[in-house]
């Protein structure tokens, strides 16, 4: 009888023990600590692609794609502020800090806002003077760290964002590795050069919503009720958080889903904290409607916005605008290598290395970002006109249908074909005979 031969199976699919998991375990076994990563989570998340837009046919007239207008101008923060923010497209540049990004990248983004007439948020760590000088409209974040923030920042702001969290790492403070804290960054942030920065996790001047009621009064007095004041929150307990934001008297909310990016975050945080942008947006809109403030309170959504379809669907669900971060970086040349935290960005975007920074041509990058914003605005206009709208803000949830059962259940938007609604309807009848 022949000897039994051991059979080796090559290339068997491994659902759990795939290359990424093995690499993760190797890293932890070697270093005894968790990993930090740039950009955000690579995990597949439910997204706006799971929805479709209904075109106008016999039920309504389409608007001529090439010869008729569709208004893109957007007014934000008109709830209480005497001088709401008016931008030409419902696309803003999200808060990305000078530190996470190079000076050149920040200036390019600011210049892009001037080319298309929108607003840029400064991100953590003060305002780079060149950003302020070049931006069309400037949003200033009031963060828990308050690095580089003074009364002067409030005076120049066209919009204020009280930041409670970001989608990529909600509940965590900012990370900026020592490699990125150059002399210039240290000067703007008023911190030592080269130190690993784990910034303040919660505001030292408002421990909880009760105090924030009084703080809001202070901010209103400081701005003479002129500047729109938003809060930026990561998507988590959206319904409860939005209710508190309404009660606190904000003019608007920036809702950051867990698909959002960041310069550096623990892998565990980006992959497992928060909820995705699309269902978070639905929850926010439901809450604003429930509280009777949908028309007066602005809602900006961010996290994984890539094209005009995302924008059109977000607007149709009920957002007033979107904020883009990673997409703007990609427009400048970023290839999403997810190593922003190392500070060695070859494209001169996520680095403070003087040599690498030279790789970014500021004017060319500004033009590319502006082109990208124009293009996605045009895409959105195309979809809106096809749906019979003469204004982007007229996109409505009735224009949407869900492609998958999951999207239908998450959003309350009817399933394509059957018009089945699972769970709580989102302004649609859930009478499915179920």
């Amino acid at each position: 009888m022949a000897d039994k031969k051991q059979v080796t199976i090559h290339n068997a699919p491994k659902a759990t023990w795939n290359k990424e998991i093995l690499s993760e375990i190797d890293y932890k076994a070697t270093n005894g600590k968790y990993r930090i990563r740039g950009c955000g989570s690579p995990r597949p998340m439910p997204k706006f692609d799971d929805l479709m837009i209904l075109p106008s046919q016999l039920t309504r007239m389409p608007i001529d794609t090439y010869r008729e207008d569709c208004e893109t101008r957007t007014v934000l923060g008109a709830r209480f502020a005497k001088k709401p923010l008016i931008i030409e497209t419902p696309v803003m540049i999200a808060g990305m800090s000078y530190g996470a990004l190079s000076k050149e990248a920040k200036i390019a983004l600011a210049k892009a806002t001037k080319l298309v007439g929108t607003v840029i948020s400064n991100g953590e760590g003060g305002i780079l003077p060149e950003e302020l000088e070049n931006s069309y409209r400037q949003s200033v974040q009031i963060l828990a760290s308050r690095m580089g923030f003074t009364r002067r920042n409030m005076e120049v702001a066209d919009m204020l964002e009280v930041l409670y969290g970001i989608g990529a790492k909600p509940g965590l403070s900012g990370h900026l590795m020592g490699e990125k804290i150059s002399e210039e960054i240290a000067e703007v942030r008023k911190i030592p050069i080269g130190i690993d920065l784990h910034s303040h996790p919660r505001a030292g001047d408002a421990f909880g919503a009760d105090d924030m009621v009084v703080k809001m009064q202070q901010l209103r007095e400081m701005t003479d009720w002129e500047t729109p004041i938003f809060c930026k929150i990561a998507a988590g307990r959206v319904r409860d958080d939005i209710k508190i934001a309404i009660k606190l008297g904000f003019d608007g909310i920036i809702l950051d889903g867990c698909s959002a990016g960041t310069g550096a975050a623990p892998v565990m945080a980006t992959d497992h904290l928060g909820i995705p942008t699309m269902p978070a947006l639905v929850a926010a809109v439901r809450t604003l409607e429930e509280m009777g403030v949908k028309e007066e309170m602005s809602l900006i959504v961010s996290g994984g916005i890539t094209n005009g379809a995302d924008l059109a669907k977000a607007l149709a669900i009920g957002a007033d605008a979107v904020a883009i971060g990673t997409a703007a970086m990609v427009a400048m040349g970023c290839r999403v290598c997810m190593n922003c935290q190392t500070g060695k960005c070859a494209f001169g975007i996520g680095t403070q290395d003087p040599e690498l920074r030279q790789n970014l041509d500021v004017d060319e990058a500004a033009e590319r970002v502006a082109n990208y914003i124009k293009a996605i605005t045009a895409e959105t206009v195309l979809l809106a006109k096809s749906a019979g709208k003469t204004k982007l803000k007229n996109l409505e949830r009735e224009d949407l249908r869900a492609l998958t059962l999951e999207a239908c259940a998450m959003t309350g938007i009817p399933l394509v074909g059957s018009d089945l609604v699972i769970g709580k309807g989102f302004g649609f009848s859930a009478d499915n005979g179920l």
């Binding site: 308050r146 009364r151 942030r189 130190i195 910034s199 303040h200 030292g204 001047d205």
Partner: protein, 240 residues
Amino acid sequence: MEYLDLAKVENEKVNVLIKDKLKESNELVLKNVNSMHNICAGLSGDCQVTIEDSTGLYTGSFLEGPTLRIKGNVGWYAGDDMMSGELIVEKNTGCNIGAYINGGTIVIYGNTGSRVGYGMKGGNIIVCGSAGRWAGVMAMGGDLIILGALGKECGESMYSGKIFTRDPEAESKMGGNVFYDTITAAETEKLDHLFSQYEIAADGKDFHVIRPVLSGRHEYALFKPDLKPELAKKYFVKRG
């Protein structure tokens, strides 16, 4: 000198009224403040305001220039984001006084709560009494001077700035990423100058300084799980 009785004034209208009154005189006394919030928030210019009783939250926040004296007690967050000027409290305060202060001087003649000088970036904060825990936590500049007893975790994760103390047990009350150091002659001189200016009976030579560790990487006591297998042995139950 002008007087303003705030007994029947709505909270939202107080600061407008104060600013109007200061156009008539740069010295103003406020009566019956009754612990209202946001008193003198954002007040600027060269003026002196005295509050005869106690105040609520955010007293003198974003202050820029004036001298604000409160004869009573003061609530949380007084002097937050202050730019310059003086905030003088004759009695005690709540927590988080001088959070994110950029400049100016805060003097508390009584005790203060936790997290005084939270994330402070400049200026001086003098506490004549004791301070609660986490004083100067994550400070990014400025001088915090505490004459009385320190609370626990003092100076945790400071990035810059100094905490002056004469608490004999200070070393056992410090947070992470700071060290205990002797005071320099220049620092002693600065302290003595401030003590003289605010009529505080203290000698700069009696103080030590808590300074931030400025190496590249902070260590956090609670960051890594502190696994102690030896201690866990007492929970071991022999199977059998």
